[in-house]
Structure formats: structure tokens, C-alpha cells
């Protein structure tokens, strides 16, 4: 960092800023707003819209402040007669062909064109001629509508596609009045990052198809929260209406997780909150599901759980998309009241040594890292994870590191991935051969002479770091995980100390589930509890006769045949969650409706260990209640009432009992979250001891 700051004067205010700072940013630092359309801090400046023109002493013409770096002694005027006239003129031009769509345009009320026209633009129109028209709107992609008449040619959307997502699906066509944004023949705008252009577009030219006509911004409630689509933990803003319905999700920048972007599956994937919900408790009666009161449903559920817990035939599968408070309560009930060791958050096979992937990587010798470390890395290695599909926003971070910061990428996987196009090398392994391939790689890095055809990779990875390894969950699901672990240890050794590893988990609170011990634990009396997959097998054999299933995720990715047979064989099923899975072919003895992330307060822990708050945005649907409250009721029904009656109390209790969360307090989480203590991930959570 250069200590030499540049000193300049903006509107009479002395500003000191780092050399290379753009004038528009320097003004912002001094609290002076310069209106912009094409400029965006995350995109390279182009100087296309001319809104940011300012007067600089000594220059004959006005200068675009978004493309001009500061210079020592510059004297700048952003609000004099000349600049005001220029702004008014630019806006007049922009409005010439702009359609009179405000009453029907989604952007109205949150539109920089409206706002700057009011603040800086003309009050009256001088344009008396016909405006140019286009067919509109065009659905250019599954999620995006394009209105060419509204476009003001700032090119932010095209630049986003070129510089950030690298899904080059938008282009600029024609010239002058007829210039338009468009897609390429045969290629819809189906990038999984397309939704970000809705936020970038300063007018209503690009709008969301699923969220069209969502309402007006002033009648919408805005609540900070966290996306539940994957384990990145992107910070979002939940926009809700009437306190009862989620109408859209918006980004909320957090450099620690999302870097300001969202992916489309996350952005548009909130339908499960509004529709298809389990709205009231159900109990089984004569082979049918009938509505019941909470009291009845709790009593019935409690009876099933108690009976089978005593007989040792109860298994508990809870979703890793539930909040940590919910998971903690379930775990507490399981260990201390029901005394059931069979507790897990997935029914996929996971190798026992790799149940906690972060601990697995730590024991291989990697230092736990955060997602933000990616963009400061010089070498990035992905092992067994396809970020583009499994953690899209992290994929953007890798692309940023490679294309903007000169990092080098090595992809290690079964086949060429989308990210391979950005990788210096792709190392392929055959299924079953993962351990050997990683070991070869480790050797290639450690000694140039043992390169085995991986000389170039090895040489690359020997260069000075920092280095970041991204390790995917599929590694833990390999039966060969133990040997892979040995290879990883060799790789860690070869890459050197200080190499960070970020383990990429599947679900938004998988990390939370692991931190809280929601996985088979050693029990002094009954030995090790069964994993989710073992529970299903045991159910097929009749050793597990009842299942308390929370959410559908644990069964969703398991072998469907296994699931079906297990369900058929069960005597009893207690379901708790926000909607009854459609593929569930048996009638649950009790179905307990619980709230989604949008309807309660709580926390999620993202893949690298950041604990982030969610805030209640809408009222619980129907009679649903937060999962931890339901568990409190069950505990009461079973004769062991819990003390913690508010979500904060549950949180405090949870942190006290969980080494990784020691030192966190509810009020300290704010809206951006706090990092937990990743280093203590290896310590066994106290809750597991019962």
C-alpha cells in the first residue's frame, strides 16, 4: 500500500485518497454524490453514459469522473452551472426515446432514471416527435425479460456477462437510435447468474420474469436474511408484502460470503416459502391424514418417539437446511431425553472418517480458510467439486481471482468442468482412482523428478502462494475417502504450511449440523449410532421401526429405491417440516408444520464457518411454528421441559455447549454475521455426550 496519498479539491473540500482512485469514488469518499448509470464499482469503467461529467480546472471540456483517476492538486467542481446544464442535457437525451412506462414498470419507485431526472433533469419535455418502438418485452431467458425501449445503453448487463460471470450471452447490436441489447442466435440468456443483471440495470429494461409486477418498493417490507440454496451463505434481503408473502429476494453485499452477487436458483428459489406448505398439524386416523390441534399432534408424536426410543428402534434424520437453533434442540432432545444415538442429517453414504469434511481436511494438515481467501490466492485448486453448479457464487469468486487478479487455477475432478475453461490445468481422475490421482499430484508438487506427466502442474503449484484448496463433499462420500485423506495429507505437505482449505458442503446449514454434532456419535452404552444411510438399511431389515424425519433433504438425495423400501417397512413416521414431501408414500403418524427461514429468527453457519443471522420477514404460514419451539413442546410432553424459551436463549445455550461457537453472542452477529472458531472444529461437540 502506497503511503503517498493524492490530495485534491472537490467542491472546495480537500480530499486525500490513494493514487489511482477514480474521481467518482474520491467524491463519494468525501460524501459528494455524482450521478452515474454505466459506472459500477465491480465493473471496469467505460464512460458510456456521460452522467458523471464534472468540471476540472484547466480542462476545456467536462470530464467523465468515472474514467478519470485522481491527480495531485486537481480542482474539481461537481455542482456548478456548467455541470448542472450538462446533466440536464444528458438526461434530456436519455428521456427522448424512453417509453412512458412508469405506471407499469417494475423499476418505478426504485429507479435511478426517475430519481436523477427529479434531482438533476429537466421538468418539461421538448421532444415532440414519435419515439422509436420495439416489440416488448422479450423473454430472452427463463428468468429475464428485456424491454429494449427502456434501455439507456449503459452496457452494465453486457459487461457483467463479460467480466464477472463470463457467460457471454448478451451483446450490443446495431448503432445509434437502433442500438439494442440482445442475445445471440440460438442462445437464450440462461446463465445461472442472469438475475444479477436485474439489479444492475438502472432502468426497467431487464426485469425478472418470475418476479414481474411484484408490487411497489414502498409497500414492500425489506428484511435481511441468508439464502438457503447452498452452503455459501449469500446474504440476501427478503422483500415481503403485507407481512405474509415473500415477493422477491435481493442481494445484500457481504464480502465474506457472496461478494455482492446471487445465483438464479437462490434468487428465484423462494417459492417453497409461499406455496405447497404444510399449514396445520396432522395426525393419522384410519389410514388418512386429518387436521389436528397442536396439542393432539404433539401428544401423538411424543408417544411414537418415546415408545420407539425406549425400544431402541428410533432413528432421527434432520435436514441441514434447518437453522442451528432447530438442529441444536433436536440434538438435545435426542441425546438427553430420548437417549437415541441414531441421529444424522443425511441419508447419503458418507465415509466415517470424513463425516466432518473440515476436520477431515484439517487432519490432513490444511489450515481452514474462508471464501474470501479465494480472491487473494495466487493458486487455487478445486478437488471434487463443480462450483459452477454446486456453489455458483463461489464460482464467480474463483473467476474473479483468475481473470482480475492473475491467480492460477487447477481443477481436479472426474471430467472437464465449466471452470476448466479458466483453469491452467485440469487433472482428471477415474472413479475409484481418486486417491491415487491426488497422491500423484502431491508427488508432482513435492519433487519435480517424480512428476509422472504432471510436471507443469507441479511446477505451477510450487510457486509462491497464497494457495487455496477447495475440497468438495463428494470426496467424503467416496468409500475410498480414507486413502484420499492420506493423499490429501501428502498434498498439504507438498503445498506447504499456510495453504488454506475451504471445504464445500452441500446445504446451507450442513456446517451447522456438523458443528452441533448432528451425526452419529459414540455412545458409551449403545456404541456408535447409525448414520442416515445405515438407518434406512436398518429400517428395511426391521431394526429401525420408527423415523423422526425433519425436512425432506436427508432423503432427497439418497437412493430412491432404498428410501421407498425403508418407508414401506416402517411402523411409524413422525414428520416435521415446512411441506410434506410429495414422494412420501406413507401416511405419517404425525405431521408437525414448521416455519421456513423467512418466518423466523435464527442462524445458519455457512460452509467455512461463518454464523449469520436470519430475521423474520413474514408471519408464519398457517399454524406453523419454529422447529425449536416444536421440540420444546415435545420435550415438555415427554416430561423433560427445556429452559430456553426464546430463540436467543436457545442460541446462547447452543453456543455455550458448542466449542466452535464459544464467544459468540446473539447481539454481536449483527446483519453480517461473525466467523466461528474453525480451529476447534476437531473438538467433539459437548451436546453429543448426552
Amino acid at each position: 500500500m502506497s503511503e503517498e496519498l493524492v490530495t485534491l479539491t472537490i467542491d472546495g473540500v480537500t480530499v486525500r485518497t490513494a493514487p489511482g482512485t477514480l474521481l467518482v469514488e474520491a467524491a463519494a469518499q468525501a460524501g459528494i454524490l455524482i450521478p452515474v448509470y454505466c459506472y459500477h464499482p465491480k465493473l471496469a469503467p467505460v464512460g458510456a453514459c456521460r452522467m458523471c461529467l464534472v468540471e476540472v480546472e484547466g480542462a476545456p471540456k467536462l470530464i467523465a469522473s468515472c474514467t478519470t483517476p485522481v491527480r495531485e492538486g486537481m480542482v474539481v467542481y461537481t455542482d456548478n452551472q456548467r455541470v448542472r446544464k450538462a446533466r440536464e442535457g444528458i438526461l434530456e437525451f436519455l428521456l427522448v426515446h424512453h417509453p412512458l412506462d412508469c405506471p407499469v414498470c417494475d423499476k418505478g419507485g426504485e429507479c435511478p432514471l426517475q430519481d436523477f431526472t427529479y434531482q438533476f433533469g429537466p421538468s418539461r419535455s421538448r421532444f415532440r416527435y414519435p419515439k422509436r418502438h420495439w416489440d416488448k418485452p422479450l423473454q430472452i431467458g427463463p428468468n429475464i425479460l428485456l424491454d429494449r425501449e427502456r434501455c439507456i445503453m449503459c452496457f452494465r448487463c453486457v459487461r457483467f456477462c463479460e467480466e464477472i460471470s463470463h457467460h457471454r450471452q448478451l451483446g450490443v447490436f446495431q448503432r445509434g437510435n437502433n442500438q439494442e441489447i440482445g442475445t445471440f442466435p440460438g442462445q437464450p440468456f440462461d446463465s445461472r447468474f442472469a438475475g444479477n443483471t436485474i439489479e444492475l440495470c438502472p432502468v426497467g429494461a431487464l426485469t425478472g420474469a418470475p418476479t414481474r409486477f411484484f408490487g411497489r418498493t414502498w409497500e414492500i417490507g425489506h428484511t435481511p436474511s441468508v439464502c438457503t440454496g447452498c452452503s455459501t451463505g449469500c446474504n440476501i434481503r427478503v422483500d415481503s408484502r403485507h407481512g405474509s408473502e415473500v415477493v422477491r429476494l435481493w442481494s445484500r453485499e457481504n464480502p465474506a460470503t457472496d461478494d455482492g452477487w446471487l445465483c438464479d436458483p437462490g434468487r428465484f428459489g423462494y417459492g417453497f416459502v409461499n406455496d405447497g406448505r404444510l399449514e396445520e398439524p396432522l395426525v393419522e386416523s384410519d389410514g388418512q391424514c386429518v387436521p389436528a390441534t397442536w396439542q393432539q399432534a404433539i401428544a401423538r408424536a411424543g408417544a411414537v418417539l418415546e415408545q420407539h426410543a425406549k425400544a431402541g428402534t428410533l432413528g432421527i434424520l434432520t435436514s441441514p437446511r434447518m437453522t442451528s437453533e432447530e438442529l441444536f434442540s433436536v440434538s438435545k432432545l435426542a441425546r438427553t431425553v430420548l437417549k437415541v444415538p441414531h441421529l444424522d442429517h443425511t441419508a447419503r453414504y458418507v465415509h466415517p472418517a470424513a463425516v466432518d469434511l473440515r476436520a477431515f481436511a484439517a487432519s490432513a494438515g490444511f489450515t481452514p480458510g474462508t471464501l474470501r481467501d479465494i480472491q487473494d490466492a495466487r493458486q487455487i485448486i478445486t478437488i471434487g467439486v463443480d462450483l459452477s453448479r454446486e456453489q455458483p457464487v463461489t464460482d464467480l469468486r474463483v473467476k474473479k481471482a483468475v481473470t482480475q487478479k492473475g491467480a492460477e487455477l487447477v481443477v481436479v475432478d472426474a471430467e472437464e468442468l465449466e471452470l476448466s475453461a479458466f483453469a491452467r490445468h485440469t487433472v482428471l481422475w477415474q472413479p475409484g482412482d481418486e486417491a491415487a490421482t491426488v497422491m500423484s499430484l502431491a508427488n508432482a508438487v513435492a519433487s519435480p523428478s517424480e512428476a509422472n506427466g504432471m510436471q507443469a502442474v507441479g511446477e505451477l503449484l510450487r510457486q509462491e502462494g497464497p494457495k487455496v484448496v477447495l475440497l468438495g463433499w463428494r470426496v467424503g462420500e467416496s468409500p475410498d475417502a480414507e486413502r484420499i485423506g492420506e493423499s490429501l495429507a501428502a498434498l498439504a505437505q507438498a503445498l506447504g504450511p499456510g495453504t488454506r482449505c475451504v471445504t464445500i458442503l452441500r446445504h446451507c446449514n450442513s456446517r451447522g449440523a456438523l458443528d452441533l454434532g448432528v451425526h452419529p456419535a459414540e455412545d458409551p452404552v449403545s456404541g456408535r449410532g447409525m448414520s442416515g444411510e445405515e438407518m434406512l438399511r436398518a429400517a428395511c431389515e426391521g431394526r429401525i421401526r420408527a423415523l423422526w424425519l425433519l425436512g425432506e433433504e436427508p432423503l432427497q438425495d439418497a437412493d430412491p429405491d432404498l428410501v421407498r423400501r425403508a418407508m414401506e417397512n416402517l411402523e411409524a413416521l413422525v414428520f416435521q417440516g415446512w411441506s410434506l414431501p410429495s414422494w412420501l408414500e406413507r401416511v405419517p403418524d404425525a405431521a408437525l408444520p414448521s416455519t421456513t427461514f423467512a418466518e423466523m429468527d435464527g442462524t445458519f453457519t455457512n460452509t467455512h464457518g461463518r454464523v449469520q443471522r436470519i430475521f423474520r420477514a413474514i408471519r408464519p404460514k398457517g399454524k406453523s411454528r419454529p422447529g425449536w419451539e416444536i421440540v420444546n413442546d415435545l420435550a415438555q410432553a415427554l416430561g423433560h421441559p427445556f429452559d430456553s424459551r426464546t430463540v436467543e436463549a436457545v442460541f446462547e445455550e447452543m453456543c455455550a455447549a458448542t466449542p466452535a461457537y464459544r464467544g459468540l453472542s446473539w447481539n454481536s452477529l449483527g446483519v453480517a454475521g461473525r466467523e466461528s472458531q474453525a480451529d476447534s472444529a476437531a473438538a467433539a461437540p459437548a451436546a453429543a455426550q448426552g
Partner: protein, 594 residues
């Protein structure tokens, strides 16, 4: 009041007080002199006695909470000179954690209630105030509502499900519970209220016939929800203590959360007998803040409506005042004419009373075609009708018995208490804001301002009757000047464009959209224009902050100040005289309590 005038006074103040005074010139403001808090008494005395213009009339003191700034509170004093026809603002600033300043009650008795209100709403303490207790909020209220960190939504309601969790605000404090931020309120003398209650308790059984009774809050003759505690010696009033706040609806606080067009609708409901008067005062202050002039036709129509409002308000006053004293027929006659006026209001705005017709920028819409003929019909019949009322009352022996010599207040006392309107002029002080500090071109109309001599109920009655006559005269002149033209200023950043343009012009559509949904933006600064309504001096003090919402919307209302003087007028009178006196000061509780 021009900035130059303020500056001249400031220069003199500088000579006297040195660096302890400075000049604050907010954009679009008339400027005010900022005084060190410790000097507020000396400065107030200097302003009253020595400053150029001799400011004898206390307008108001109000507070503004600039949360986040240190010092946190601005106290803005406004004083008027009834002789030099000008006014002056001066401020002082006090800070958390324990904001306090000296009271100026002994210099200007009219400051008494204003200081109490600031204590109530902001928690600023005034040393030396003889009766510093809450005035609008109930006695045991916790918190100070107009502070910026006090929520807009009020207290949670006690239901059976949360009964134990809520402390009702109106219950007395528990032993040891501190509801006044740790201050010892009893450092002041026992309040007149407490004295009254205690003396009433003592005297109840002493066989001398003294007692303390409630007049109100439910009472046909208090003209609203006013509670007067009367200490009586037989039929004679020994002492009267008004207790107000029953109609407090938080207008000033609510105004801070609405944009200017929305806040306008709150103003109708303050002095509900003079809705367009309130609209006018508010609109003028906002226009002063923004720097906007409505077109000429709008100004002339504003005068017409202001005077019609004055007539209509006086008619209600006359009808109810007479009714209180037993002259029941007057009520029906007065309301007959009033209805003609309300019909005219309905013609132009669709609403009989709460019109919000006069708005920043001009008028909501032009008058309809039936308005002028209706107005002419009214103007034709009104003088004779007014004559009829006079015939009923002015020489009526019973009326004379009930009103002459009753409820007297001297000119000095009236001015010192900040009494305005006919209540002041009845005592012989010729001060009417329309003449003293003209607005809307009042200086271009020929009209007289009637004054009385004795300051009793009768003289106030005569003043108002004559005022109606003069209003009629003004309306005639205004009507003759009316020319076709626009009724809204052409400033598209404040006044939305006509609907016809929205389908043609992009700029118009955008401006209409934003002004309608979010509201027009007012620059940082202050706007204050004093006006004369039927009750007296009404002015809004608006603080803008560059947003579409007023940062502070303070209403200085005539009835609030006039009521303060009531105990003085009631000293030694009979209970029946109290009825006459209350009617004669023509108070409207809506603007007292807001």
C-alpha cells in the same frame, strides 16, 4: 421579516453580548440569533426592552431534536413587536444527558405553557419555572414523545394475554420508579395544580363553602374537551387551572413521518373550525422554505377562502357563545349562513370542512363554475344577516348584563401572555398580523381592524362582529380582482404536472410519479410565516432536511396561548361568568392539544 432586519438587530446584540451571540442563517430563512444558554434570560430581557423594535409580544418557544448532533436540542424563540410590526427568532442549544435552560416566564408570562410543552415533549428542563409539569401527556407518562428516538407507534395495549408484561403509562409510578430521567421535579415549588388539589382537600370540610370542582372535560360550554379545575368560594371562582391534552393526537409527531402533501391533511384537523386557515399557514411556511410563489389568481383566491373561513369560524363562535348564554336562536341563524359557506367549500374541493384545498404551490384545483355565483349570492345576503344577529344581541339587556365587565383582561396582560386575535384587540391593542406583517397581498386591500376598550367579553364580541363585516369587504375586493389564470405554481419539482401531460411527456410522467408517491423534496432550512386566523396568530415553523418529509412541523396556535390567559380573566368572576369568558376567547381544543 427580512434577513437584513435580523442582521441589524444581531449587530447591536453583538455589541452588548459579544461572542456569546452568533447569527444563524439557514437558507431560505429569516435568520435567527443564536445565544449561549446561560444568557437566555439576559438576552430575552434585552430583546423585550432594548432591541430595536421592542419586542413585547411572546410568540412561542419550541424545540427541535437534532438527534446525533451535539448539542442535541434547538430551542427557537419567536417574539413579535406589536408596534414595529416585525418579529424576531432567536435560538439557544442544549445537550444531553440532562438538557436544561433558564425559564423566561417572569419576563414573558406567555412562555409558561410553551416551556411546559417542551418539558413534556422533549424532556428539557426550565429552571425557575413555577409549574414545570406535563401539559399534554397524562401526568405519569414515561418518555418524551417528540424526541426522535421515541417511537411513532404508541404504547402497546394491555390485553389479558400480555397483561402482566405491560406497564400502563397512566398508572402512577411504583415506589422508586423513575419516570423523569432521574430529576427531582419537586425542586420546583408545589405546582398550582397540586396546591389546588391540596387546598381543595383541606377546605372541603372547613364549613366555609370552598370547594374544587371540575368543569369539563365533558361540558357543553367548554367548547371542546377542556378540563378546568375551579376553586370556588360559593359561586365565585377563586382560582382556575386548565388541564388540557384530552384531544392530543400527536399531529406534530405524525407530521414528521409523512411527506408534505400528506402532512397538509393533518393541519385541517388542528383548528377544525378554520381548516383552510391552517392549510394556508402551513402552505405559506412550506413555500417560504422551498422558495416558491404561487400565481396571482391562487393568492387572490386564498384571500377569499381565508376570509370565508374567518366568517364561518366566527359564525360558529357566535352561535355557540350565544347558545351558552341562553340566546338559542342565534345559533340557528349563524349556522344557516355557515352552511352557505360550507356549500361553497364543497363546490371547490368536494369537502365541507377538512378541505386541504390550499396546498404548497397554490390551490389544489381552480374553483368550479358555480362558485362565483354562489359567492355573490352569499355576499349579497350576508350584511343583512349580520345585522340580524346584531339586532338580537348587541343592545339586548340580558346580553349586556352577561357580557359587559365580565372576563376582563388588561392590554398589558394580554400582550404579555401572548394573547392574539380578537381576544387581544378587545383590550385595545390594535395588532392584526394581516396588517402588521402582510401576507397574500393583504396590504393591498382596504379593511379596518376593530379594537375594543374594556377588554371584556362584550368588547371581544363587538370586535368579532365587525371583523365579519370587514371580511365581507375584503372578499368583495378580492372577487373584483379575480382574473383567469393558473392556480398552481409552475414548478414541476414541487407541483405535479397536469394529468393531461402525463400521457405525452416522459419528464412529466416521472415527476408526477415521484411527487405523488414519495413527495417533493424541501431543502434543508426553515420556513415560518405568521398568519391571522379567526382565533389569532397562527404560524407553522417547518424545518426541512432535504427529504420529502418535514423534520419538524411545529404549530404555534392562538388558542394555546389564549387559553393560558384564561385563569387571569376568571379571577373573581362567577361560574356563570366563566361560561361567558370561555366562549369569548373562542378557543378550539383541536389546535390547543394537536
Amino acid at each position: 421579516m427580512e434577513f437584513e432586519q435580523t442582521r441589524r438587530i444581531f449587530e447591536k446584540a453583538r455589541e452588548r453580548f459579544g461572542e456569546d451571540v452568533s447569527l444563524s442563517d439557514r437558507p431560505n430563512g429569516e435568520g435567527s440569533i443564536v445565544v449561549e444558554p446561560s444568557l437566555i434570560r439576559d438576552f430575552t430581557r434585552w430583546v423585550r426592552d432594548e432591541a430595536e423594535g421592542s419586542f413585547d409580544f411572546f410568540g412561542e418557544v419550541c424545540a427541535t431534536d437534532f438527534l446525533g448532533r451535539s448539542p442535541r436540542f434547538d430551542l427557537t424563540y419567536t417574539v413579535y413587536s406589536t408596534t414595529a410590526n416585525r418579529h424576531l427568532h432567536y435560538k439557544t442549544r442544549v445537550d444531553d444527558p440532562d438538557p436544561q435552560v433558564d425559564s423566561v416566564v417572569d419576563i414573558f408570562p406567555g412562555a409558561g405553557w410553551h416551556e411546559r410543552e417542551i418539558f413534556d415533549m422533549f424532556g428539557v428542563r426550565f429552571h425557575g419555572h413555577p409549574d414545570l409539569r406535563r401539559i399534554l401527556m397524562p401526568e405519569h407518562w414515561r418518555g418524551h414523545p417528540l424526541r426522535k428516538d421515541y417511537p411513532l407507534g404508541g404504547e402497546e395495549v394491555q390485553f389479558s394475554s400480555n397483561f402482566a408484561d405491560i406497564t400502563p403509562q397512566t398508572l402512577p409510578p411504583a415506589p422508586g420508579e423513575d419516570i423523569f430521567l432521574g430529576w427531582d421535579v419537586l425542586e420546583t415549588q408545589p405546582s398550582s395544580y397540586t396546591q389546588l388539589l391540596e387546598s381543595g382537600a383541606e377546605l372541603e370540610h372547613d364549613g366555609e363553602g370552598r370547594m374544587v370542582i371540575n368543569m369539563g372535560p365533558q361540558h357543553p360550554s367548554t367548547h371542546g374537551v377542556l378540563r378546568l379545575l375551579l376553586e370556588l368560594d360559593g359561586e365565585n371562582v377563586v382560582k382556575a387551572v386548565p388541564d388540557i391534552g384530552f384531544l392530543h393526537t400527536g399531529i406534530e409527531k405524525t407530521g414528521e413521518s409523512l411527506n408534505y402533501q400528506q402532512a397538509l391533511t393533518l393541519t385541517d384537523r388542528m383548528d377544525y373550525l378554520s381548516p383552510m386557515g391552517n392549510n394556508l399557514a402551513f402552505s405559506l411556511s412550506v413555500e417560504r422554505l422551498i422558495g416558491l410563489e404561487p400565481p396571482e389568481r391562487a393568492t387572490i383566491l386564498r384571500v377569499i377562502f381565508a376570509e370565508l373561513t374567518r366568517i364561518q369560524s366566527h359564525l360558529v363562535w357566535l352561535g355557540t357563545h350565544a347558545l351558552d348564554l341562553g340566546a338559542m336562536s342565534a345559533f340557528f341563524y349563524c349556522f344557516r349562513e355557515r352552511d352557505q359557506i360550507l356549500d361553497m367549500f364543497e363546490m371547490v374541493s368536494g369537502v365541507r370542512m377538512m378541505t386541504s384545498y390550499i396546498c404548497p404551490g397554490g390551490l389544489r384545483e381552480d374553483v368550479t363554475d358555480d362558485f362565483v355565483p354562489a359567492l355573490e349570492r352569499f355576499l349579497k345576503v350576508f350584511p343583512d344577516r349580520l345585522g340580524e344577529y346584531e339586532t338580537l344581541l348587541t343592545r339586548n339587556p340580558i346580553w349586556l348584563e352577561r357580557t359587559q365587565g365580565v372576563g376582563k383582561i388588561s392590554a398589558e396582560d394580554a400582550v404579555a401572555y401572548g394573547v392574539s386575535g380578537a381576544s387581544l384587540r378587545g383590550s385595545g391593542v390594535r395588532w392584526d398580523v394581516r396588517k402588521a406583517e402582510p401576507y397574500c397581498g393583504y396590504d393591498t386591500y382596504d379593511f379596518e381592524v376593530p379594537v375594543g376598550t374594556n377588554g371584556d367579553v362584550y368588547d371581544r364580541y363587538l370586535c368579532r362582529i365587525e371583523e365579519m363585516r370587514q371580511s365581507h369587504r375584503i372578499i368583495r375586493q378580492a372577487l373584483s380582482r379575480l382574473q383567469p389564470g393558473p392556480v398552481q405554481a409552475e414548478e414541476r419539482k414541487v407541483v405535479p404536472p397536469p394529468k393531461s401531460e402525463i400521457g405525452q411527456s416522459m419528464e412529466s410522467l416521472i415527476h408526477h410519479f415521484l411527487i405523488t408517491t414519495i413527495g417533493f423534496v424541501a431543502p434543508p432550512g426553515e420556513g415560518h410565516v405568521p398568519t391571522e386566523t379567526g382565533r389569532g396568530l397562527l404560524s407553522f415553523y417547518i424545518v426541512g432536511d432535504g427529504s420529502p418529509k418535514p423534520y419538524r412541523m411545529r404549530a404555534r396556535t392562538p388558542s394555546f396561548a389564549n387559553l393560558q390567559a384564561l385563569p387571569r380573566m376568571l379571577e373573581g368572576c362567577l361560574v356563570a361568568d366563566a361560561v361567558a369568558t370561555i366562549g369569548s376567547i373562542d378557543i378550539v381544543l383541536g389546535e390547543i392539544d394537536r
